[in-house]
């Protein structure tokens, strides 16, 4: 089937619509998902189509939203729970980490937890420190949970559909800044992007840029800028932080021998730390330069626009990092 050019917001919406129409067990629960049509308008019209049985406006109870999703998944439903932004998912951390991620293992496979927790994520817009974070790596620390974050509309649809169909708990984060961004998306109910599969977004032979989420945009923009100087950069979108698929990164690195990691999140014990560690461990013989990381600066995000943007990564910072190791 042909692609349609739609926003990432609509791609996520279509994924949910298709899966709810396909499978009666799939339901949505979260704050403002029904009457309000979703805080980010992803679930607009859902209450009209599916009714309050399957589109549940929940109280502001993050722990209970997460826990009820887990409990209902254990007995056979397939919840897609929404926590408005990932900042509030910290309130549900115990459910995600001590329960969702552990129940299958702790009871030796007696129960499955086929749930998806959707959260908006990302820095900026003067949202300030407690509402402006990209903390996926925290959640990716724990075996038992899958963590995915799409960088574009096409992946958003395919990844979310795969997550809903999977029998494991998935934390699925959506970068707020990417919601309006359009892109070609297959108008196909069976279009899936498998869990744990990374993607080569651009090939190149001088340096490998590794990113996920919004970092992919900065990496692609930087690759274009570098091209003007004759530098051909490869861009790998990891898409999933867990399971982490390093195969394309390693393949590319064997050719480029250089790597810059681009991450919207903080640098300390980060996504970039893990990628760098794996490259030096597995690719030591191919290394021609240290792995560089372009991350947010190691500060809580301030309100004032003048200094807020200074803390964020951008394409120019990626170009600068590449030039340091060429």
């Amino acid at each position: 089937m042909a692609d349609k050019n739609i926003s990432m917001r609509d791609a996520v919406r279509n994924a949910l619509l298709e899966e709810m129409r396909r499978d009666e067990r799939v339901y949505i629960m979260g704050q403002e998902v029904g009457k309000w049509n979703g805080t980010h308008k992803v679930t607009r019209g859902f209450l009209d189509e599916f009714g309050p049985r399957r589109v549940k406006d929940a109280p502001i109870s993050e722990m209970a939203i997460a826990g009820a999703a887990i409990g209902s998944a254990m007995v056979g439903l397939r919840p897609v729970a929404e926590i408005m932004t990932i900042n509030f998912a910290f309130l549900a951390l115990d459910q995600l980490i001590n329960h969702a991620a552990k129940i299958h293992y702790m009871f030796d496979g007696q129960m499955k937890v086929p749930m998806v927790m959707r959260c908006a994520t990302g820095w900026g817009n003067q949202a300030t420190a407690s509402h402006s974070q990209t903390p996926e790596p925290i959640f990716a620390h724990f075996p038992g949970l899958y963590v995915g974050c799409p960088s574009n509309a096409r992946d958003a649809k395919g990844m979310l559909k795969a997550a809903i169909r999977d029998d494991n708990p998935v934390l699925f984060t959506e970068v707020i800044a990417l919601y309006p961004k359009p892109g070609p998306v297959p108008d196909d109910e069976e279009f899936l992007v498998p869990i744990g599969k990374s993607d080569l977004k651009r090939d190149g032979d001088h340096v490998t840029l590794v990113a996920y989420g919004r970092g992919v945009d900065w990496a692609l923009e930087a690759a274009k800028m570098l091209e003007r100087d004759g530098v051909r950069a490869a861009v790998v979108d990891l898409r999933w932080l867990r399971p982490l698929d390093m195969s394309i990164v390693f393949e590319s690195f064997k050719k480029t021998n250089r790597c810059v990691v681009v991450e919207e999140s903080l640098p300390h014990f980060s996504f970039g730390s893990e990628i760098a560690a794996q490259i030096q461990d597995k690719m030591f013989d191919y290394m021609d330069a240290p792995v560089k990381r372009v991350s947010a600066l190691d500060v809580p995000l301030p309100f004032a626009a003048e200094i807020e943007l200074m803390a964020l990564p951008n394409a120019q910072k990626v170009v600068d990092a590449v030039k340091e190791i060429l």
Binding site: Y27, R53, K56, A58, P59, S61, M63, A64, I65, A66, G67, A68, A69, I70, G71, S72, A73, M74, V75, G76, L77, P79, D94, Q95, N98, H99, I103, H104, Y105, M106, F107, D108, G109, Q110, M111, K112, V113, P114, P143, G144, Y146, D167, N168
Partner: protein, 326 residues
């Protein structure tokens, strides 16, 4: 007494089986010779003293109903009909344990019995109960969820969020507080502004099921039988069962032993002795031999469970990695 003889004898058997099982567990944990301490680790929370609450409550359920509890879970599992051999094996950390030796004493579950587990984060299982009960409403099933709650768990946020959500959605949950007067070592009056814990139901617009004598199995059975009917028809109900634990919070707690007078008061109304007396009064001295026979039988079952656990294989290196994901 209107309850049939066979039913009472069955409850007596379960209660005395739990008592012997727990006493044997403690003996093994504290065995003088290290090589005899087959129950290792640092956690062992026994149910001695509280048997009437667990046995009476579960006797009122139907096979399709759901049960969930905290870490003081062996007795609940036995009362639900889970094989004591597989519970003991779990506590020994054996592959034949209900959770393959991966869960231990605090994580006894049996999906086939709809006993969804023992959970070790205080209050963490309460939203799971909410979620399990959601399925009954979602699919219009005649199923209730019985969630045990320690008195200590009424003071963290899980209690508030999970109970409120169940009330908003009128879910068929029986919230059963086991008030054994102490959350670890802290007395209820030192931890709760409202010491009549059942009254918290009022705050949620939920049915207040009142306070019941948790040492009398027949009282608990009657209360939960009525609660089941109520929950299916109308929604959640909160009941407070007054009981007492004869041992410390866990094996490391020696403080409980100092509460001699209080302990003696409760042991005067020991649930097992009380039921034996009730049966003696109702059916005459002829039943005393039957009671002795059941007592001996329960001891044999505990012996068999220990034997089974001793002869069972340990988990292997491969098991370390199995069932992390479904």
């Amino acid at each position: 007494m209107t309850l049939p003889r066979e039913k009472l004898l069955e409850w007596y058997h379960q209660m005395v089986l739990i008592r012997h099982f727990e006493e044997r567990s403690l003996d093994i944990y504290h065995a003088p010779k290290p090589e005899d301490r087959h129950i290792g680790g640092v956690y062992l929370h026994v149910y001695n003293g509280q048997e009437a609450t667990g046995v009476g409550a579960l006797a009122a359920l139907k096979p399709q109903d759901h049960v969930i509890t905290a870490y003081r879970d062996h007795g609940i599992a036995i009362a639900r009909g889970v094989d004591p051999k597989r519970i003991m094996a779990e506590m020994f950390g054996k592959k034949t344990g209900v959770s393959g030796g991966k869960g231990g004493s605090m994580h006894i579950a049996s999906a086939e019995h709809r006993m969804w587990g023992g959970y070790a984060i205080v209050g963490g299982h309460l939203p799971l109960a909410t979620g399990i009960a959601m399925k009954a409403r979602y699919m219009d099933l005649d199923e209730v969820t019985l969630s045990f709650i320690g008195d200590g768990a009424t003071n963290n946020g899980y209690f508030h969020e999970a109970l409120n959500m169940s009330a908003v959605w009128k879910l068929p949950v029986i919230w059963l507080i086991e008030n054994n007067l102490y959350g670890m070592g802290t007395a209820v009056e030192d931890a709760s502004g409202q010491v009549a814990l059942h009254k918290r139901a009022i705050a949620y617009g939920m049915e207040d099921g009142g306070r019941i004598d948790g040492m009398d199995v027949t009282v608990v059975y009657d209360a939960i039988t009525q609660a089941r009917e109520y929950a299916i028809k109308h929604g959640p109900i909160l009941i407070e069962s007054m009981t007492y634990r004869y041992e410390g919070h866990g094996v490391s707690d020696k403080v409980a032993k100092e509460r001699k007078d209080e302990m003696a008061k409760f042991q005067d109304r020991d649930p097992i002795k009380l039921l034996a007396q009730q049966m003696h009064d109702a059916f005459g001295a002829g039943i005393d031999d039957e009671i002795k026979r059941i007592d001996a039988q329960a001891l044999r079952e505990v012996d068999e469970s220990v034997q089974f656990a001793l002869e069972s294989p340990d988990p292997t290196y491969a098991d370390l990695f199995s069932n992390i994901y479904a």
